[in-house]
């Protein structure tokens, strides 16, 4: 039984720009189908067309049949009926997707009360039933709570419960776990799988994560630039991708399986440690509530030329650690020693500042905010060069800047570009070039590739490994993503709630985890191989 049948769907913006070029896609009853693509591929638009949620005044051709009825030609009343009882959607960010000024109970019951005309009592019972179904601990209590009182994972359960109250036959999930930590993601996926089975719904699961798609879904559609690039079983897509793009995508998607291509720890016996962190601790005083322990007795060491990964979920203290190592924050206790020199307080004199800058540089997470919006790529690098090499003359600085940009794979024409005209990947390359301009002993990268699409991430990671080969750079690589850390770092530590729970070579950590939290983390990562 075909539940959803999209054929020849095109979408044009009022300005005439075409965003979807003839999409064909189907979902059967009880089937889970994944729609995979990078940003701008049109996967979310396709999902929204199913509920008739397209941008105002856009022009649609083709058909979107849900349960035999064509959505684009529905009257607004028919659309309301479709959304209330036939198809429902779970969105990416529950924090943004639930009205912060209304209670959870209000969110769950309003569609029933105002749309279907249910009594308040009946709607309330239904809401409690749904909250129990998505395994919320205290359904009755949650009804009175406001969204800000719940965690992201809990809110996503509420969002799912809200989508299920109308007993839809088709559930569309638009990146429902992207904003969540990996262990929370695993729980949410569990809830979704259970509910799909219990209700024999059809499910369309939109994601950028090929591993996730393959672990969850029977069939996978790969989208690119508003077109369906390829369609097939998860196994087929992974093992025998038909198109060049899918092949590249599969290759660029990091996994946590040991494949032998990961960097090996050096065989040299004794190497000079570049960074030593001893018993670092930091507690943020809470204003009117409990104080937050960000770091507790963190000790670690990085040898020259080594790359150390720090893995942890949000709130693990990994970013605080990074900011302390580069001196943006001061620890309550403990020492940061770089190149055998201990750091005390904030730098006072110019020489002190420059000296510290040469010891450690940092690449930040958000490529959109980490560059000065008024400075071109070239100027960003030149600024750093001029500060650290006042003896150099202008033409020398220019040519050095261009060389650095060339090293990270940017053309000389892009030196003139302002950040807003550059893509996320290009901006992150500029940030790397800017850090390298100072020739630091240690480079700290804080989630530096997390905001990027997988194919762009793969390119940036390639740039990093090239630079490491050429310059023997020492690297502290912070990430929530075990798979990325595997491809970059010889050694890794796992952090949780401000503490280091385990420290080992990356390969050992992945194949033979000692701590239960490390095991949980690894088990939570979706794996294509499990199915394929």
């Amino acid at each position: 039984m075909t539940l959803l049948e999209i054929s020849g769907l095109t979408l044009d913006l009022p300005g005439g720009e075409r965003l979807l070029h003839g999409i064909d896609l189907s979902v059967n009853e009880g089937e889970t189908v994944a729609l995979v693509g990078e940003s701008g591929s049109g996967k979310s638009l396709t999902a929204q067309s199913i509920l008739g949620l397209l941008p105002a005044r856009s022009v649609v051709t083709g058909t979107v049949l849900v349960d035999g009825h064509n959505v684009p030609t529905m009257s607004s009343k028919e659309l309301l009926g479709l959304r209330r009882s036939t198809a429902a959607m779970v969105f990416q960010d529950p924090r943004a997707g639930i009205n912060p000024m209304r209670t959870i109970g209000d969110h769950l019951t309003e569609a029933l009360r105002l749309g279907e005309g249910w009594s308040a009592g009946r709607a309330r019972e239904r809401a409690i039933e749904m909250l129990a179904a998505v395994q919320m601990p205290r359904p009755e209590e949650h009804l009175r709570q406001y969204p800000h009182e719940l965690s992201g994972g809990m809110l996503q359960r509420v969002m799912i419960a809200g989508a299920l109250v109308g007993s839809p036959r088709l559930l569309v999930c638009d990146e429902p776990t992207t904003a969540l930590d990996v262990t929370t993601q695993a729980q949410i996926l569990q809830v979704l799988i259970e509910q799909r089975q219990a209700r024999s719904m059809g499910m369309l699961f939109i994601t950028h994560d090929l591993n996730l798609a393959a672990s969850l879904c029977e069939r996978v559609y790969v989208m690119r630039d508003g077109r369906v690039e390829e369609e097939g079983s998860a196994r087929q897509i992974f093992r025998h991708p038909a198109t060049a793009y899918t092949r590249r995508l599969v290759a660029a998607t990091p996994t946590i399986e040991i494949t032998g291509d990961e960097p090996r720890a050096s065989t040299e016996l004794v190497r000079q440690p570049v960074l030593q962190v001893r018993d670092l601790a930091k507690t943020y005083p809470g204003r009117g509530r409990e104080s937050v322990r960000a770091l507790a007795n963190v000790t670690l060491e990085i040898a020259a030329g080594e790359a150390l990964g720090i893995v942890g979920e949000s709130g693990s203290g990994k970013s605080t650690l990074a900011r302390m190592i580069v001196g943006l924050e001061l620890p309550d206790f403990g020492k940061v020693i770089i190149d055998d020199q201990e750091r005390h307080g904030r730098p006072r004199r110019r020489a002190d500042r420059l000296d510290r800058a040469r010891k450690v540089q940092m690449v930040f997470q958000d490529p959109y905010l980490s560059l000065d919006p008024r400075m071109t790529a070239g100027e960003a690098v030149e600024d750093a060069l001029r500060l650290h090499h006042p003896e150099l003359r202008r033409p020398d600085i220019c040519s050095r800047a261009l060389t650095l940009l060339d090293n990270v794979g940017l053309a000389s024409t892009q030196a003139e570009a302002l950040p807003r005209t550059l893509s996320g990947g290009q901006r992150q390359r500029v940030a790397i070039a800017r850090a390298l301009a100072i020739e630091p002993s240690l480079l700290v990268m804080d989630e530096a590739t997390s905001a990027l699409d997988v194919s762009v991430q793969a390119q940036v990671l390639e740039v990093i490994s090239e630079i490491r080969r050429e310059r023997g750079l020492t690297l502290l690589f912070i990430s929530h993503d075990l798979a990325v850390v595997r491809t970059v770092c010889e050694r890794s530590v796992v952090m949780r709630e401000g503490e280091v729970v385990e420290s080992a070579t990356t390969a050992d950590l992945l194949t033979n985890p000692q701590h239960e939290y490390t095991r949980l983390l690894i088990d939570s990562v979706p794996r294509a191989a499990a199915i394929a």
């Binding site: 420059l354 930040f364 100072i438």
Partner: protein, 288 residues
């Protein structure tokens, strides 16, 4: 906590950021330029001495002799408008420059340093914001007597908190951005980052606010003269002209009062159009 911030009002006034027809912006520039030039070269441009009383021309209608007519004393309205533009434009200009300087200094210090200094400056601004500009100006007149000097100083102080609040919030939000952290990690001094990198990034938005302030200040100073507390008759000034000619309205003689009133409105509109357009153009890429 959302306190009544002027920032909000500015956001409000700038929210209609759509591409204007360029005609309105060209016209605004031409009008302002013409008035400014006429004011600068008033003795050359004005057909009459603004204070010349001519009893044969009392309430004269517009015509070849008096393009915009004449007032109750037969003084030429056009000449008085041209001379009146001098105080009408110069005084707000002084206020805008002084309040912008004061506000940017306070806002930059508060937003960049944070901590107790921010709290003290914030409290000071809170107190000053409780005094509407026109009220401070009226009080200045009550203390130091009529004229334009005391109100101009008072208004410079009264408008500084609006600029300071905006600057503070912009600087504080810039300071929290990773690009500022990146400058620090590179070894740049805090003062250098604040003055050379952050200030230029917030300048377009602050500049747009100051431009909009010009219109308000002009209207308020004219209002002060209208109340008889600012520029004193018989000196030609738009506000004072309305004040003098108000009595004639009841008798049906509208023009001597309406002309300066319309002039105030035209200048305010023109300044606002230019302010929004400039902030659109320069501030296009500014993160706010």
């Amino acid at each position: 906590m959302s306190r009544p911030t002027p920032t909000l009002a500015i956001k409000v006034l700038r929210s209609s950021r759509r591409r204007r027809v360029n005609a309105s912006w060209m016209i605004s520039i031409i009008v302002l330029a013409a008035i400014t030039l006429a004011a600068i070269f008033a003795p050359l441009v004005a057909p009459y001495d603004p204070d010349h009383i001519d009893f044969t021309a009392i309430y004269a209608n517009p015509g070849w002799a008096h393009w915009l007519g004449a007032d109750a004393l037969g003084r030429d309205t056009l000449s008085r408008m041209i001379y009146g533009a001098r105080t009408a434009l110069l005084a707000p200009l002084v206020v805008v420059i002084a309040s912008t300087f004061l506000g940017v200094v306070l806002g930059l210090v508060a937003g960049w340093r944070g901590g107790w200094l921010d709290a003290v400056i914030g409290r000071l601004l809170d107190v000053l914001l409780a005094f509407p500009a026109l009220l401070i100006a009226i009080m200045a007149v009550a203390l130091f007597g009529k004229g334009l000097v005391a109100p101009v100083i008072a208004m410079s102080i009264a408008y500084a908190p609006f600029v300071a609040r905006l600057t503070r919030s912009l600087v504080a939000s810039e300071r929290a951005r990773p690009y500022v952290a990146a400058y620090r990690v590179q070894g740049f001094a805090g003062g250098w980052i604040a003055l050379r990198r952050v200030l230029p990034n917030v300048a377009p938005t602050v500049g747009a606010q100051s431009t909009l302030n010009f219109g308000y200040v002009l209207a308020e100073l004219a209002g002060l003269s209208f109340l008889g507390l600012g520029v004193q008759a018989p000196t030609a000034d738009w506000g004072a002209m309305i004040n003098e000619s108000q009595a004639g309205i009841v008798g049906g003689y509208f023009l001597p009062a309406i002309i300066p009133a319309v002039a105030v409105v035209i200048v305010v509109v023109a300044v606002n159009v230019i302010g929004e357009e400039v902030s659109d153009r320069i501030g296009g890429g500014t993160p706010t």
